[in-house]
Symmetry: C2
DNA sequence: ACCCTCTATGTCAACGCTGACATATCTTGC
DNA sequence: GCAAGATATGTCAGCGTTGACATAGAGGGT
């Protein structure tokens, strides 16, 4: 398969210009000014837009700027304006988790409207690296920080906050730091799903989620318990499976539940990873046991999997909006914002109890 | 040490020093220097690390810096060093497409190793906005650009390239611009999948993909045709369905194929969206008709769906590596790098022809 | 004619940092 | 004892930009 047949070969080649000569340096305001026969300040005025410049002069400046391919240097601009850049930093955890990127996407979209650009950094879910990563961003003089807290403690940011850098936490609240938080409606969202199952006649409902201990997972577990308590189910602990280990514990947990003498008639998964495990474990028996997973996923609708869904983009958007508010007015108490979740019924969650 | 008598008072000094602002702002090198009783340059040396500083002095400086919560200002640093920041810009298309973010993730991981931070920007798949977005990044003085080309023409970047800003294209090559490209092995990857079906006895093989016209999709279609031509199938056009419209054309296309008097015994989908359509259309008949989709997706393994897969993170990684090479040595012809794809057999693709 | 305001442009310093260069002390070698 | 290096620190200018301030002609009102 080495030689691509005919078709539309010749993808590259055809260099438009010989292999690159480099480093004619970039034009500055002064260069443009010289060419246009005006002062640097006048060029500056043309590019920052908000001052008196004669139309004729403006044209001459623009012509010179285009000829020299001038581009205003935002670094210098930022330095001049209090040394703060027009960027915000987003610190996410595990880079392979698309959740973070969806949030980033929502943020980007909103920030772009305000001409703010976003700088990305990842902690790779290593709590120890959080502070280091944050420092990198602060050195870049971001105007604000949005972080998905992963370290055990964010008090190291207290100084920054006092210096006026807003900190917004996403998905989990910060610990030991006054900061706004944008989180999911984890607890009541999960409760909603369980209630739906209860309404449908289920009493033996399993809950699978690993790793335990995270804020989000604790909240979801709590919601699960809330709903079962409401329903008068007192032995819910029996149906809980929360492992902290790696490997594929969720799938095993599901099999374990299904192998009980009185197996659950419905299972709720606390996150996407757990959903995958449960679906694998269910296999051919997917039509027998009801299932609802927290987190929507691609093709879930094609497959008829009911989920507790939410708008990840919205989380990012809300984070961005809160951030913009903070930049306008840094005072005021921290807000705890919950983003709505809702159960999407696609079939798997509406299966009635078998026994 | 001229002006600045003590700390307070000094009201009578008329024109010498106007009342200094009391707003607590961020500490600078000079502030630290004053507190430590050394020159700013010495503090600079401590923080850039690579020069002679006595241990005792270093300690004193660090103590002062910590007390003042000093942070080096990378903006100023960058400005001093040729006015170029230590960042690269990534321009992606539709922000809700997780593919882009996976690429971003791979890049980030690699760039972080080199202390380079990434700036994100999205074109929202609007070709007209590409140039504007790119400009924003260039104004931030990114050291290099990685873009997923969406505009019809990237020649507007030629000037930048000549000024020494490397441009790397991902997923699709640039048009009218000399730039490296990191793309998937679209053509032969698709051909591999079709060959596998042929080997399994299939001759009537459908291909569904929308929208047509994109580079990637053209390549995949070409690969499909390659393999069928090899197999001596001459009427492959009959089995191709490529629509440009929106809605859910892929699902309809699949139904249409299945409703033919001599329906295909196997179907290949050209992208994830098409896969979803086909899976919906197949419904209960999933076990009768072989299926392979381009792009892996979550739970595909749990569901036994065979796919043409690749490592999206790897694409980003390769882009980052190429970029770093370019920064080291800006010369040399543009490279066209293909990232490997491979067929993952999970069952759906190994179903033998029924008739 | 005079003053006033509006428009249009220029001069200069400074944002925070570091490279180039200068200076001063301390070793080491012969 | 002294040149030659190694070590330690300081001074100054300038990266590209713009705010503050200065200047100067054009128009308007009286």
């Amino acid at each position: 398969m080495a030689g691509e047949p005919d078709g539309d070969g010749g993808l590259e080649s055809v260099a438009l210009t010989p292999p690159t000569r480099v480093t004619r340096s970039r034009a500055t305001l002064a260069d443009v000014a010289r060419l246009a026969g005006v002062s640097a300040k006048t060029v500056s005025r043309v590019f920052s837009g908000n001052a008196y410049v004669a139309d004729q002069t403006r044209d001459r400046v623009m012509a010179a700027a285009n000829r020299l391919r001038f581009r205003p240097n935002d670094l210098a601009r930022s330095l001049r304006h209090g040394g703060v850049a027009n960027t915000v930093g987003f610190v996410m955890g595990d880079i392979t988790n698309q959740f973070y990127f969806q949030v980033a996407a929502g943020m980007e979209r909103e920030l772009a409207k305000h001409g703010i650009t976003m700088i990305l950094a990842a902690t790779e879910d290593d709590p120890g690296s959080e502070e280091r990563v944050v420092e990198t961003l602060l050195n870049q003089r971001v105007r604000a920080l949005v972080i998905v807290p992963i370290a055990a403690d964010q008090s190291y940011l207290e100084g920054e906050r006092q210096l006026g850098t807003p900190v917004i936490c996403v998905d989990r609240p910060a610990r030991n730091l006054v900061a706004d938080a944008i989180v999911l409606r984890n607890r009541s969202g999960t409760a909603d799903a369980v209630r739906a199952l209860v309404t449908n006649g289920h009493r033996r409902i399993g809950f699978i989620c690993s790793p335990g201990g995270l804020y989000t997972h604790e909240q979801r577990l709590a919601g699960y318990r809330d709903a079962l308590r409401e329903a008068g189910v007192t032995d819910s602990r029996r149906w809980e499976r929360l492992k902290d280990v790696d490997g594929r514990p969720d799938e095993e947990s599901a099999r374990e539940l299904m192998a009980l003498p009185d197996p659950p008639t419905a299972i709720v998964a606390g996150n996407n990873h757990a959903s995958a495990g449960v679906i694998r474990a269910l296999g051919e028996r997917r039509s027998e046991i009801a299932f609802i997973g927290f987190d929507d996923f691609e093709l879930a609708d094609a497959l008829g999997i009911s989920v507790i869904a939410y708008d990840t983009l919205e989380m990012g958007r809300r984070a961005a909006l809160r951030l913009l508010e903070r930049l306008d007015d840094p005072t005021g108490p921290p807000q705890h914002i919950e983003v709505d979740t809702h159960v999407i019924a696609r079939g798997s969650g509406e299966i009635p109890p078998a026994s």
